[in-house]
């Protein structure tokens, strides 16, 4: 056997063995990293059911879905009126900027109300700026809130962390540091009063 053939044979075996060893080592990483993703029982708890009729008129209730807060608001006819008429103040009035602010259940009729039944808003409560929960300031104008809100306040949420403002449909108002509307949630009505989120 010449020196040369010996070398090429060795190089092949070296690469083959080393390559397979590398593949095996890489495959070993899969279960370890995989184990850090949510466990089966965590995933099983990924749905939340809530009876929206337990929320009084004009009231807000904050519930949890997958560990994050969710606003459920019973919008009275007065609050529903606040949804319209200030489109020029909104960054994204049709909730189309990113996929997360829209849901398949949204259509042209309910797009401004951002809810399946207009009177019950179910929306993420996480400010799209840095994740705080905005404060509920539902009534329009400064009557109830003083100068903490602008004179043309349409009613909605005001984030205590960095002053982001959302209207009563959770759409972000111009001049807020938050870039997007509150995220819309994948929910449906199980019966007339119970929603299932997730």
């Amino acid at each position: 056997m010449t020196e040369e053939t010996n070398d090429s044979r060795r190089n092949f075996l070296y690469l083959a063995a080393g390559g397979l060893g590398g593949v095996a080592a890489a495959a070993t990483i899969v279960p370890f990293i995989g184990s850090m993703f949510p466990a089966a029982d965590t995933l099983a708890a990924s749905q939340t059911e809530f009876d929206v009729t337990t929320v009084g008129p004009g009231q807000q209730v904050v519930i949890l879905w997958q560990g994050t807060p969710v606003f459920v608001v019973n919008r009275t006819p007065n609050l529903l009126k606040e949804v319209l008429g200030h489109d020029q103040m909104l960054k994204d009035k049709d909730s189309k900027a990113i996929p997360e602010v829209s849901q398949p259940w949204m259509n042209d009729k309910n797009r401004a109300y951002r809810s399946i039944k207009p009177e019950y808003l179910v929306s993420s409560a996480v400010c799209t700026h840095l994740g705080c929960i905005p404060g509920f300031k539902p009534t329009a104008g400064r009557k109830d809130w003083g100068d903490s809100v602008p004179a043309d306040w349409p009613g909605g949420w005001h984030c205590p962390c960095h002053g982001s403002k959302y209207d009563i449909s959770g759409r972000v108002i111009n001049g807020s540091p938050a870039p997007f509307n509150l995220h819309a949630l994948p929910y449906k009505y199980k019966n007339d009063s119970v929603v299932v989120i997730g």
């Binding site: 063995a17 080393g18 060893g21 899969v30 279960p31 370890f32 995989g34 184990s35 850090m36 993703f37 466990a39 089966a40 029982d41 965590t42």
Partner: protein, 405 residues
């Protein structure tokens, strides 16, 4: 590949600041090793591999394990439930836990082979006494880590094993009671015990890493022994560690991983040797399981404990059976290292290996009068082996040792 890396500019930058090249060359690529090492010399690198696997799997288990003896439903506890959650709900949790369980047993299997190799070929003798002593410290820390870890699932075997072993310390005069309370953090094994055992179970492997570093450093100062047990003086008796032994170790790793994967994937309980069925029953302080024994790797010492009719004597003998390993380099004064050239020692050491296996078998079995008697003889030989080494060199006719290899 290493050579290519060492030629890069980045490596040169690091090298100027750390002397990395000199370290790599002297400790790995150009580290001279005896050319006649047999496969018994593979177990050191395997032990290092299992240590890494244990630490890796342990870190990931800790992300889900909860050390609490608080009750949940029925007689279940937070700790027990969290282990079951790892088995059932956590992605690949079963795999990582079985890796850890099988790894613990194979760690001891590999280390016992490694120690047996050292005994047979006289690797504990001058100038490697300290290397041996560091190794014994590693063994003790491993046994401690294994014992602490066994409590964590908080099953019946966990609880009663910990109860028995902490009671051992209670047998010591004067300090016993205090030592026992110190270990348990209470009057019996309970929630505080579980928490401190978990803490120590995480600490001990970190100690192991440091001490294994010392073990390898000590080895690289005095260099490897070899099957002939002679000092190698000529350059042509040695070969470079890399590629010759890196490749041989890699082959050993491949064989080891086959066995490891067989147990992890097909037989994680290993017929009750690695994991006992009783440990899937939640800890119950009102009822002891019918048959209780430690995991196989601790059974030889357990038999020594049971062989004495006196509580204190048993505890002292068990401690002594481990402590005597420290004295081994100073008990055996024969100038010839390898059993190949010591006919009497060869028979003694092979009998010693069989003796330890018998001790292990008896410790794993339920007590019977016959087994107890055999256990007592086996215990007697265990100690006799060490003390006979004092006198054997005086009459043993060793065979002529080769000049070189």
């Amino acid at each position: 590949m290493l050579n290519t890396i060492m030629k890069t500019k980045l490596f040169a930058w690091v090298d100027r600041r750390t002397g990395a090249e000199a370290i790599i060359k002297s400790q790995l690529t150009e580290y001279p090793a005896p050319k006649n090492l047999n496969y018994m010399w593979n177990f050191g690198s395997l032990a290092l591999l299992v240590l890494i696997l244990q630490i890796l799997s342990g870190i990931f288990l800790t992300m889900y394990y909860k050390p609490s003896a608080e009750f949940t439903y029925g007689s279940y506890t937070v700790a027990f439930d969290s282990v079951e959650r790892i088995m059932r709900d956590v992605n690949f949790g079963w795999l990582i836990r079985y890796m850890h369980v099988v790894g613990a047993s194979l760690f001891f299997a590999v280390v016992y082979m490694h120690i047996g190799r050292g005994l047979y070929y006289g690797s504990y003798k001058e100038p490697r006494e300290l290397l041996w002593i560091i190794g014994v410290i590693i063994l003790l820390i491993m046994q401690g880590a294994a014992f602490f870890g066994y409590l964590l699932p908080w099953g019946q075997m966990s609880f009663w094993g910990a109860t028995v072993i902490t009671n051992l310390f209670g047998a010591l005069p004067v300090i016993g009671e205090y030592l026992q309370q110190l270990l348990r953090g209470g009057f019996s094994v309970g929630d505080p015990t579980l928490n401190r055992f978990f803490s120590l179970h995480y600490l001990f492997p970190l100690l192991l890493v440091a001490i294994v570093g010392g073990h390898i450093h000590a080895l690289h100062v005095v260099h490897s022994n070899n099957p002939e047990g002679i000092d190698l003086t000529k350059d042509d008796e040695k070969i470079m560690f890399h590629p010759y032994y890196t490749v041989k170790d890699a082959f050993g790793v491949a064989v080891f991983l086959l066995i490891y994967c067989y147990f992890v994937f097909f037989n994680p309980h290993a017929w009750g040797l690695f994991l006992e069925v009783d440990n899937y029953v939640p800890a119950n302080r009102l009822s002891t399981p019918a048959h209780i024994a430690p995991v196989w790797y601790l059974t030889p010492w357990y038999t020594i404990l049971r062989s004495f009719p006196d509580k204190l004597m048993g505890v002292v003998a068990m401690g002594g059976s481990l402590a005597i390993l420290f004295a081994l380099p100073f008990l055996d004064r024969s100038k010839v290292r390898s059993a190949r050239y010591r006919p009497v020692f060869k028979q003694m050491v092979i009998l010693f290996f069989i003796d330890v296996i018998i001790l292990g078998y008896i410790g794993h079995s339920p007590v019977s009068p016959m087994l107890k008697l055999i256990g007592q003889f086996a215990t007697a030989y265990y100690f006799a082996f060490f003390f006979l080494l004092l006198v054997v060199p005086k009459f043993e006719k060793t065979k002529p040792v080769p000049e070189g290899i």
